[in-house]
């Protein structure tokens, strides 16, 4: 009897050990395609021309920021501004510079005008923000600082025009905020000036005004192309 009971207990234990709750699983593959978007658009001021036709212009220069610049007596006008936007899905860098090492005369191609007679500052009109003064890429960010402009000390200084390529704006490297964004995030104005002799801290303009230069620049129409190159940073 004992043996039979023991066998019965074994059987019952065996039954319950094999029963269980049944689960089910399914797998859904998800793919994320990130396409590159990288575009620069000049919305205004694609062609800048300074016309010096008074002695005052030669003395004080011509500037888009005549009232607020270091040279408040310069002739000013909104036509000396270039507005542009950058749309990028990734961190980006904008290089710029002139095709030639100096301005060349159109009437007399043998005459030249030094590039540093022309300069510009940058105004930021977008939601992305420049880092503070003196900061370079990879520095310690404050808040959502995402833009660096070494030639203009992050938008605070006037820089002389340089030959291509010079990095004008780049990503700060802030882990919390990339400079990627659309045209509303990355909207800028270049405030051009010529002959204002402003001394930026990085690339100062020619400190001698046009009227004081020796030899005096020959009357001519001086031209140079300025290239912009937008790339992934």
């Amino acid at each position: 009897m004992k043996k039979i009971s023991l066998a019965a207990v074994m059987l019952i234990c065996g039954f319950s050990a094999f029963g269980q709750a049944v689960k089910d699983r399914n797998v859904i593959p998800v793919a994320v395609s990130l396409n590159q978007v990288l575009r620069m658009t000049v919305t205004n001021g694609g062609n800048i021309e300074f016309v010096f036709n008074t002695i005052e212009d030669y003395k004080n220069g011509i500037s888009s920021e005549g009232i607020i610049s270091a040279n408040p007596t310069a002739t000013s006008g909104a036509m000396y501004k270039t507005d542009f936007t950058v749309s990028s899905s990734t961190r980006w860098a904008l290089s710029y510079g002139t095709e030639e090492p100096s301005f060349w005369g159109t009437d007399n191609p043998n005459t030249a005008l030094a590039l540093d007679n022309v300069g510009f500052s940058i105004s930021n009109n977008g939601f992305n923000t420049f880092a503070g003064t003196g900061k370079v890429a990879g520095g310690t960010p404050v808040g959502l600082e995402s833009l660096i402009s070494v030639p203009t000390d992050n938008g605070l200084q006037v820089t002389a025009l340089q030959t291509y390529p010079k990095v004008l704006i780049q990503d700060f490297g802030n882990p919390a905020a990339a400079n990627a964004g659309d045209a509303a995030d990355n909207s800028f104005t270049l405030n051009w000036r010529c002959g204002t002799a402003e001394q930026g801290t990085v690339f100062p303009m020619n400190i001698v005004k046009l009227i004081d230069q020796n030899p005096s620049p020959a009357p001519d129409r001086y031209v140079v192309n300025v290239l912009f190159d937008l790339a992934i940073d």
């Binding site: 023991l6 065996g14 039954f15 709750a21 689960k23 797998v27 859904i28 793919a31 994320v32 659309d182």
Partner: protein, 194 residues
């Protein structure tokens, strides 16, 4: 010696024979469960414009599951509902591209009733992770078996939503690539002694 005395070979053989012959009849599972994919067995998220990259993508009707859940009426085991869990398949730690990776939580998943599971509870959008997380639970003390035709869940997906929109950040600044992850769903029955 004592064991041989207690269990002579004849008795052991007979017991094993009876056990093996009738065990399948008595060791039935406590329930049957099936997670049927009715549509949306794969999901492409194509970020083809800056607007999508900046705002993210939400696919509200991404996958539809049919739920089949049957109680086997095993003594002591009472089926009363289920929980739907999800995670990255094989504990994949990130969303893998050819070159770069994205954090798993850039994808969020939500399960909601479509038909037949109105009294269930949706946990809303949950971050994809390597851990099992609940998406939807359903309990009915007076249990009626569920079948895929009349009990369905809709799975919604969102990817790259901004923090302001309740997501985990946009994909702005991320490298262009073709990223992949497999999401694993598990239907787990619940009830007394489950």
């Amino acid at each position: 010696m004592l064991i041989i005395k207690l269990f002579p070979p004849k008795i052991v053989f007979l017991t094993l024979l009876i056990y093996l012959s009738i065990n399948p009849l008595f060791s039935q599972e406590w329930n049957a469960a099936r997670l049927n994919v009715l549509y949306g067995s794969s999901l492409p998220l194509n970020f083809s414009s800056l607007g999508k990259i900046k705002k993210g993508i939400e696919v509200q009707t991404g996958t539809r599951f049919g739920i089949s859940l049957v109680d086997s009426l095993q003594l002591g085991h009472v089926l009363q509902g289920f929980v739907l869990y999800f995670r990255a398949f094989n504990n994949q730690a990130n969303i893998k591209g050819d070159v770069s990776v994205l954090p798993l939580n850039k994808i969020r998943v939500k399960a909601e009733n479509v038909i037949g599971l109105e009294s269930g509870h949706s946990y809303g959008y949950q971050d994809l992770s390597t851990d099992w997380l609940p998406l939807f639970s359903y309990t009915n003390a007076s249990w009626h078996n569920l079948n895929w035709a009349n009990h369905q869940l809709n799975i919604s997906y969102e990817c790259g939503k901004s923090l302001a929109d309740g997501g985990n950040g946009t994909l702005l600044g991320e490298d262009p690539d073709y990223y992949n992850v497999e999401i694993e769903f598990e239907l787990v029955p619940t009830g007394i002694n489950f």
